[in-house]
Amino acid sequence: MAVSDAVYALGGSAPAAVFSPRDAAETATRLRECDDAGRAVVLFGGNTLQALANDPARYDVAIDLRGLDRIVDYEPRDLTIGVEAGLTVGAFDAALAEHGQFVPLDVPRAAVATIGGTLASGWLGPRRAAYGRARDFVIGTTVALADGTLAKSGGMVVKNVSGYDLSKLYVGSFGTLGAIVRANFKTVPLPQTRRIALASLPEGTRGHAVANVAALDLEPVAALVIRGFTEIDGRDAPEGRMLLLFEGSERSVERATRESRSALGAAGVPETRLIDRDAPATFARVLDAYVALLGTQSTTYRSVGLPSDLSARVACALRAARANELGLETIEDLRTGDLIARVSGTTGAGFDARLTGFEAERRETLPGARVLAAAPQSRASLDAFCSPPASLAKMRALKARFDPRGTLSPGRFVGGI
C-alpha cells in the first residue's frame, strides 16, 4: 500500500487496491470485476462523512469517485442541474451561485465533501424544515450496481412519476446498493438576503426564548440553541447561544430581525448580535462542528426526533454524560427537532470506558441516536446506526437483490447490512 493510500483505511484495515475511475462506465467495470473476484468494495468521495457508517466487515478495494467531477447538464433557466458524483459540494455551490441558485445540502466541509458522498450518507441539514431534505431535491440518479449494470431513474424534469423513484433508495444507502455516479437536482433561487441573529442566553432565559422564537410570525430557516461548540463563535453562555438564520427578501429579513430581537428581549435576553456579510461563513462553521472531533477524546451523535421532545432528549443526554463523567456539548435544532450531542473526556484517562458507559445508557434513553463523528479507536465499540427499524427484513432483502454477493460496503449499514 502506498503511503497516500492510508487515507482509505477504515477500522484499522487498509484496502489492497485503490481505483480512481474517470467516468461512469469505468466505475461500473471496476465494480463488476470486484464482484466477480469476490472483493469487497468501499466507495470514497471527500472522506468527510465515513464515520456515519460502521467499519466494513470485509474490505479489499477502495473506489475513489472524485475523478467523476463534471457538471454534465446545467440549464439555469430550467432550475435543474445534473452532475457527476465526485464533484465537490463547494464546486457545485459555486456553479449554482454564479446563476443565483442553490441546493440546500447543508453539508459540513463543503469544499471537500462530494455530491455522491453527501447523498449516500443521507446527510440532513438544519435548513431542511424550511426547504426540504436533499432527497427532495434529487430528481434523477444514475447508479452503477455491483454487477456492472448502469441504471438510471427519474430524469431532468421537476415533476416525474415514471417508474419507481429509486433515487430515494440510493440516498442514505451508504453505497451498499450501488455507486451513485450521477445525480440530477432541482435548484432554488438564492434568497435576496441572509442574516444570522446570535444571542447569548443568560441563566433562566432558555425556555422562554425558545417559546418566543417558536411563536415568531416570520420563521427563521434555521433556529439553533448551541451549548459548547465554541469553535463556532468563540464564546459560550450560561444557557447557550440562540442562533437564528433568516433568509428572504430584504424587507422580510428586516422585519424578522426586529421581531426576533423583541421576542428574545421579552425573554430576558439583553443583546442580539447581527451577522450579515459573514453569515455564510458562520453557518459553515456550525455545519463543520457537527462532525468535528475534540481531539481523540470525543464522540458526536445526532438524535432525530420531534421538536416537541427536544428538551426531554437533551435531559437524557445530560444524565448519561454526567453519570459517566463526560463533558456534553449540544446543538438543539428547534425547527427539525435534531439534537447534536458531543461527549468528551475532560481528563486524559479512561475515556473509552466512560464512553462505553454512556453508550449503554443512551441506547436505552436515546435509542434513535446515530454517530456523526468518532475517534478511530472508539469506533469499534459503537454502532453508527443503533436500533434497526421494524422493516429490517425488507432492507436485508433489498440488499440481497441489489448486491447478492455482498460486494458493496459489507457490514457498514444498519443491522450489519
Partner: protein, 482 residues
C-alpha cells in the same frame, strides 16, 4: 383465473370481514372496473376495510386464492392505475377516511388512506396549517391515491409533490404483515420508494403527512396573453428570474371559454391564453412581487394583469381552474387528458408541437397545465361515436408523449403510468433501468399480486424486461373509455 376462484374468494372474505363490507354480485362489482378514464375487467370481489387488520386478512386470503389485490382510492386516476386487469380483489378505502391524529405543534398528522385530500386541509385550517399537494381532483381524490401516484397539483411548483410531504407509511406487505416505515428510520428510505409506486409494492393503511404553516397573505393574479406560447415564455422568464410564486398555471383560449361559460370567474374571454399566478407570503412582499411579476409578464407580451385580493375572488379563480376538465362538455362530448413533463424552457416548443400534432390528426386540443413545473395537460377533444376520432386520439396521445421525451421530458408528471402508459415506459427507460426497478418489486412482491399489469410493460417479470418495441402499441388500453 377468476371464474373458478371467484365464489370461493368471496365466501372466504365474507367469513373474515362480514357480508356487509364484501361485494361479490356483478352489479355491485361493475362500478369498480373503472377509473376516471379506463375500463378494466370486473374484479372477483370488492372489500371495504375498516382498518389495517382487515387489509391484512384480505391480502392473506387473496394470496391463498391466487387473486391479485388492487387498492383503490376515489377512482379519479386518469391512467388505469386502480382498475383490475384480471379478476382480483379491489380494496376500496371509502371507510378508512379519517384523520387519526393531528400534531399541530410538530406540524404533522396521521391519516387514513381514504381521507379526501381537501378534507385534510379543511380539518387543519383552524390551526393555521394546510396540506401542500392539491391535485385538481382534491375534492374527491384521497391521500392514499395521492401517495400511490406521487400526486402534485398546481402548488407542487412551490411545495413539491407528495413524496416531499409523506413522513411515514403504514402498509400491509405481500405476506399480510403490517409494517411501519418512516423517513427518519435508520436504513433505506422505504417510505420514499413506496410513494409513487402505484400500489405495486404493498397496500397503504395509514400515512403520516407533513403540514405547512399557512402564509399570511395570498393573492392570485390573472394575466391575458395573445397565445399560449407567449404565456409560457413569460413563465419561463419568471422562473429563470428567480421569482418564486406559489403557482403558475396556464389556460388556453379553448379552455378559458368553456370554463368562463361554466364558472363566470372573470377570466378575459378575448385572450389567447390566461396565466394564473399565485403569490403567498408576507403582505408587503406580496405587494412587491405582484408589481415585479406584472412587469415581467408585460415584457413578455401580457395584454392585461389583474390582481385578485379577496379570498372569494381567489377561490372562484381556483375553482374554475381545478374544475376546467369538467367544463369541457360544452365543447365536445369527450376528452382525453394527457400528462407529460418537459424542462421549463421547452414549454413554448412543446406547446407548438402539441398544436401541430392535434392539427395532423384533425383534432381540437385544449391546454390547461402546471406551467411552472413544465407539466403539460393537453386535452384532446373529440366525439367517441366517431370511430376515426377515437383512433386519432390514441395516436395523437402517443405522438405527444414522444414529442415531450424528445424535448428531454417524461411521460408522466403526476398521474402515474398505470395500465395506460406501461407500454410507453420503455421510451424513457432502457432494459437495465427497468430491470433495476423490477429488483425493488421483487423484494416487495415477487409473485406480482399487488396491482399487476401496471407500470411495467407486459412481459416484464423478474428483471426480464421486454425490449422497447419498435412498433409501439397505441398507449391506450383496449378497454379505454374516452
Amino acid at each position: 383465473m377468476t371464474g373458478a376462484n371467484g365464489s370461493d374468494v368471496v365466501t372466504r372474505l365474507i367469513d373474515a370481514i362480514g357480508a356487509e363490507r364484501v361485494l361479490g354480485a356483478p352489479e355491485d362489482l361493475a362500478a369498480y372496473a373503472f377509473d376516471a378514464f379506463c375500463e378494466g375487467a370486473l374484479p372477483a370481489a370488492v372489500v371495504l376495510p375498516n382498518d389495517a387488520r382487515d387489509v391484512s386478512a384480505v391480502v392473506r386470503i387473496a394470496r391463498e386464492c391466487g387473486e391479485p389485490i388492487v387498492p383503490r382510492g376515489a377512482g379519479t386516476g386518469l391512467c388505469g392505475g386502480a382498475i383490475p386487469s384480471n379478476g382480483g380483489v379491489v380494496l376500496s378505502f371509502a371507510r378508512m377516511n379519517r384523520v387519526l391524529s393531528l400534531d399541530a405543534e410538530n406540524r404533522r398528522a396521521r391519516v387514513q388512506p381514504g381521507l379526501v385530500n381537501l378534507d385534510l386541509s379543511k380539518q387543519i385550517e383552524g390551526h393555521g396549517l394546510f396540506f401542500g399537494p392539491d391535485p385538481s381532483s382534491q375534492k374527491t381524490s384521497t391521500i392514499g391515491g395521492n401517495t400511490a401516484t406521487n400526486a402534485g397539483g398546481p402548488h407542487a411548483f412551490a411545495y413539491g409533490s407528495m413524496s416531499a410531504h409523506v413522513l411515514g407509511i403504514e402498509f400491509v406487505d405481500d405476506a399480510g404483515d403490517v409494517l411501519y416505515v418512516s423517513i427518519d428510520d435508520a436504513g433505506y428510505d422505504l417510505t420514499g420508494a413506496l410513494v409513487g409506486s402505484e400500489g405495486t409494492l404493498g397496500v397503504v393503511t395509514a400515512v403520516d403527512v407533513r403540514l405547512l404553516r399557512a402564509p399570511r397573505a395570498i393573492r392570485v393574479c390573472v394575466a391575458a396573453f395573445g397565445d399560449v406560447e407567449s404565456a409560457s415564455a413569460a413563465v419561463s422568464a419568471i422562473v429563470a428570474a428567480g421569482l418564486t410564486p406559489t403557482a403558475l398555471e396556464i389556460i388556453d383560449r379553448t379552455i378559458v371559454q368553456a370554463v368562463e361559460a361554466h364558472f363566470h370567474a372573470g377570466f378575459p374571454l378575448d385572450a389567447g391564453a390566461v396565466l394564473l399566478v399565485e403569490i403567498a407570503g408576507e403582505p408587503a412582499d406580496v405587494d412587491a412581487w405582484d408589481r415585479t411579476l406584472a412587469g415581467v409578464a408585460r415584457e413578455h407580451g401580457a395584454l392585461s394583469w389583474r390582481s385578485a385580493t379577496s379570498a372569494r375572488e381567489r377561490e372562484a379563480l381556483w375553482a374554475s381552474r381545478k374544475g376546467a376538465a369538467g367544463a369541457l362538455g360544452r365543447i365536445a362530448p369527450n376528452y382525453y387528458i394527457q400528462d407529460a413533463t418537459v424542462p421549463r424552457t421547452k414549454l413554448p416548443l412543446a406547446l407548438a408541437q402539441i398544436e401541430a400534432i392535434a392539427r395532423d390528426h384533425e383534432l381540437l386540443v385544449g391546454n390547461v397545465f402546471h406551467a411552472g413545473d413544465g407539466n403539460l395537460h393537453p386535452l384532446l377533444l373529440f366525439d367517441r361515436r366517431v370511430a376515426r376520432q377515437l383512433e386519432a386520439v390514441a395516436h395523437a396521445g402517443h405522438d405527444i408523449l414522444a414529442a415531450c421525451i424528445e424535448l428531454g421530458g417524461t411521460i408522466s408528471g403526476e398521474h402515474g403510468i398505470g395500465s395506460e402508459k406501461r407500454e410507453s415506459l420503455p421510451l424513457v427507460f432502457n432494459d437495465a433501468d427497468l430491470a433495476t426497478m423490477a429488483r425493488l418489486r421483487d423484494v416487495f412482491d415477487v409473485a406480482r399480486n399487488f396491482n399487476p399489469d401496471k407500470i411495467f410493460p407486459a412481459g416484464a417479470v423478474c428483471g426480464e424486461v421486454r425490449a422497447a418495441q419498435a412498433n409501439l402499441a397505441v398507449p391506450l388500453p383496449a378497454g379505454a373509455w374516452l
